[in-house]
Symmetry: C2
């Protein structure tokens, strides 16, 4: 098992390529080691073992560790090489942050499943059996497990053995990221005060809730570990924001329409939940009166059946909302390529970022 004491080089196999799959394994090894320590400490103190186990299961159930990979790529982009221990620890912190955010998201939306398993609050509810308070207590338990994942993310940063200046930079970026995501979620939950057909408002939610935390901040956090300056950080922002937005726009399309090649089945999670996506805003904006009223009536219904979902899909297609979303992804992807053309990154970094850009804008989950 990987501990933070042994120096670990990152997945750069040669100057031409970064082995992203190897990075993923290394990050998982850091998470395994850290959580094994937590399990051991919990056993020694009589804490319930299922808390750590729940976090482990959540991580084991899936996730492509794309933020962790971006963090290590950002580290290389800023000249990081040799011992990658600190970069991997920060990368692992990002994955615990994702676990926190998703566990809390699922409570807020009362989602039934996540990564092919029951969502954490549903699993804890089931564990409580016939207790009439099971729904409330299960949500409470999941809230606390999510909180612990966030606290452990911070603990990973606090013990990343960074030199003080870089630690300050890492903390500043991480704290800014957390705040952005919370504000984005807050707008999402409590409403923007704008209509559901407000494309700009929907884009603003994406910008805060996803774009920064998915691509820009992970890249910058890795770069901060390598001691990047303001100019390097700015390039990563110019690259990260459009890529993060494209990532989310693709995610929204996949949720409603499934993958174009049948890899993902179309679902109706976002439609049922009435998620204020750019796709939906475009559909509402472009629809005629009758179809618009129909769409308003269909989305946000917890009991939306497949027939209703199919009708919503048809409206989103016929109005051109789907097509327009595809165009928005393409223009962002092209913007990313343009930034990469001018960035002058080492070849291995450039190639890894181009690969990640394709992955993020084509298939995500």
């Amino acid at each position: 098992m990987q501990t933070s004491r042994e120096p670990v080089t990152s997945g750069v196999v040669d100057s031409q390529a970064i082995d992203l799959r190897a990075v993923q394994s290394q990050v998982d090894a850091v998470l395994d080691g850290f959580l094994a320590g937590k399990a051991c400490a919990a056993a020694g103190r009589g804490h319930p073992p299922e808390v750590v186990q729940t976090v482990r299961d959540f991580l084991a159930a899936g996730g492509k560790r794309i933020r962790a990979q971006l963090c290590v790529v950002g580290w290389h982009a800023a000249g990081g090489q040799g011992d990658a221990t600190s970069a991997l620890r920060v990368a692992a912190a990002l994955e615990l942050f994702v676990a926190f955010a998703l566990i809390h998201d699922d409570i807020m939306d009362d989602s039934a499943r996540r990564r092919g398993r029951p969502a954490v609050h549903r699993a804890l509810r089931a564990r409580l059996g016939a207790d009439e308070r099971a729904e409330r207590l299960g949500a409470g338990g999941a809230l606390l497990v999510g909180n612990l994942a966030l606290m452990w993310a911070q603990e990973l940063l606090h013990t990343a053995q960074l030199e003080p200046g870089r630690q300050r930079l890492v903390h500043g970026l991480f704290d800014a990221m957390l705040e952005e995501v919370m504000y984005g979620q807050y707008l999402d939950v409590m409403g923007t005060g704008c209509g559901a057909d407000d494309v700009e408002a929907a884009l603003r939610i994406i910008r805060y809730k996803t774009a920064g935390a998915t691509v820009e901040r992970p890249l910058q956090l890795g770069a901060a570990v390598a001691g990047a300056g303001a100019a390097e950080m700015e390039v990563l922002t110019r690259l990260g924001l459009p890529l993060g937005e494209a990532f989310q726009l693709r995610d929204d399309l996949l949720d409603v329409f499934g993958g174009p090649d049948g890899v993902c089945a179309p679902g109706s999670g976002d439609l049922r939940e009435g998620k204020r996506t750019v796709l939906l805003a475009l559909g509402l904006r472009r629809a005629g009166r009758v179809e618009r009223e129909r769409l308003v009536r269909l989305v946000g219904r917890a009991d939306l059946a497949e027939r209703g979902a199919a009708e919503a899909r048809r409206i989103l297609r016929d109005t051109g909302a789907r097509e327009r979303t595809e165009q928005m992804i393409t223009s962002r992807y092209e913007e990313v390529l343009q930034v990469l053309d001018g960035a002058g990154f080492p070849q291995a970094v450039d190639r890894a970022l181009r690969d990640l850009a394709v992955t993020a804008t084509r298939y995500t989950s």
Copy 2:
């Protein structure tokens, strides 16, 4: 307004006394300055202003800042003097942590009120008006506001301008405290697997959920800012744990019976919620079959009326559970005095701790 840049001496007016009231104002000034910065940043970025305002209102509504005071006393106990900026920042972080914990607690218990106002999730629910999803969304909004309070607590620590060794110590203590509280809450919410009459289990919840975070960790955090060693930390543990337990036992008594001199009215929050207090465990353990069954039937009912609450109170009194809880407080208070007698703290520190011990074991809220 106090900013973190100007050196601030703490509330020590002379070698004989620490002015705890002055400490409270200084901590509030740090919080005001920090949150004013957050409000300003939110305005600049188009974030909804009500998030910062909600946290400010929560802090303004009350709270005695006892943890913040203990932090500054701990700093003095370990020889801290002169510029108290860092100690006050850590103290302020503790108060934001308390805000986080209470906001989340109120969601989990669906408490109606806190500090004389509607609980945050209830206030946000009301703001959403007739929306049928208002209950779920209000809870979601409060969850996010609570998360931000926690994140801002960490940010206060990250920017406390501590020298690296002390910062590591402060982070280690803070992270340990957060983890303990979450585990304690988890036991509280999901059950200990032991009966509600298990006094030891109820004490274990107190130990994790309250005793550390209320007294021990705040004292140690302040001491860490002053660079305390292991021996000093250990004295603060021996002092802090019994005082923290006494504090919680008193809080439980006040919730059910009110203050002995009528300062607090008896409520029935803990009884309605079925909170697994030591008081309740003692009552169940000591009651005969009939009264035990009666007590089981009464507690944990959201619709418990004053008549039922009065009956539960009578059983808790008649079984001697109330009296036994009083004895447990007294023995812990005496333990605290004994530790203080041998601790050899400077006179001002000793006096402040004796004052806080009286406050914490007599009247709390």
